[in-house]
Amino acid sequence: MPKISIIVSSEKLDKLFPAVTLATTAAVMGWESEIFFTFWGLLALKKDYEAKDVSSDYKVYEDGLRRAVNSGAMPSWLEILEQGKKTGRLKVYACSTTMSFLGVKAEDLLEYVDEIVGAASFLGKAKDSDINLFIS
């Protein structure tokens, strides 16, 4: 089966949705799938973080996205991630360097995180990917 690796460096909804949609869809299709959350993307993995904003350039569309989620037309980004995790084929990695400079501890992170890794470890895991995306 193919493999996809995605790097996410933003905690905004307009970045999180495409990342988890592709990662979970891949996992549901039987692919190996992995997401590496780094820099501000790591904030989205904190237990106390509630993703509710879009990037500042796209504020005008924020209400539309919120309405789509609240109406049930779209699952929340975490619900999408959760369904991917249930397949057992979606791995979530948290960037160790980012955790260090943001002062985030392992116990602050959501249960969906499989491993805290550095750049070299993630590259080692991702090097045989068929598709690799950087979403920032």
Binding site: M29, A68, G72, M74, P75
Partner: protein, 76 residues
């Protein structure tokens, strides 16, 4: 066509219909036929792609008004 499970994913956008179908497949057995109802225009093609990847079979797709009825046979 005998349908074993109906999954109503109308008015859900991508990836909602596929995720709803994938959940239903977990509860189905080999040979079961699932009818997925979806209004997302990308659903028929997405479901065909998923089925060919995981080894299930899209038997038929019908459109009634704005709703696609996508019949999927669960294999293996």
């Amino acid at each position: 066509m005998k349908v074993d499970i109906v999954v109503d994913a109308r008015y859900k956008s991508c990836p909602g219909p596929l995720l709803a179908l994938a959940e239903a497949v977990k509860k189905a057995g080999p040979g079961h036929i699932i009818m997925l109802l979806a209004t997302d225009p990308s659903a028929p093609q997405d479901i065909r792609e998923w089925a060919s990847s995981v080894g299930h079979k899209v038997l038929n797709v019908e459109k009634v008004d704005e709703t696609y009825q996508i019949y999927v046979e669960v294999l293996g």
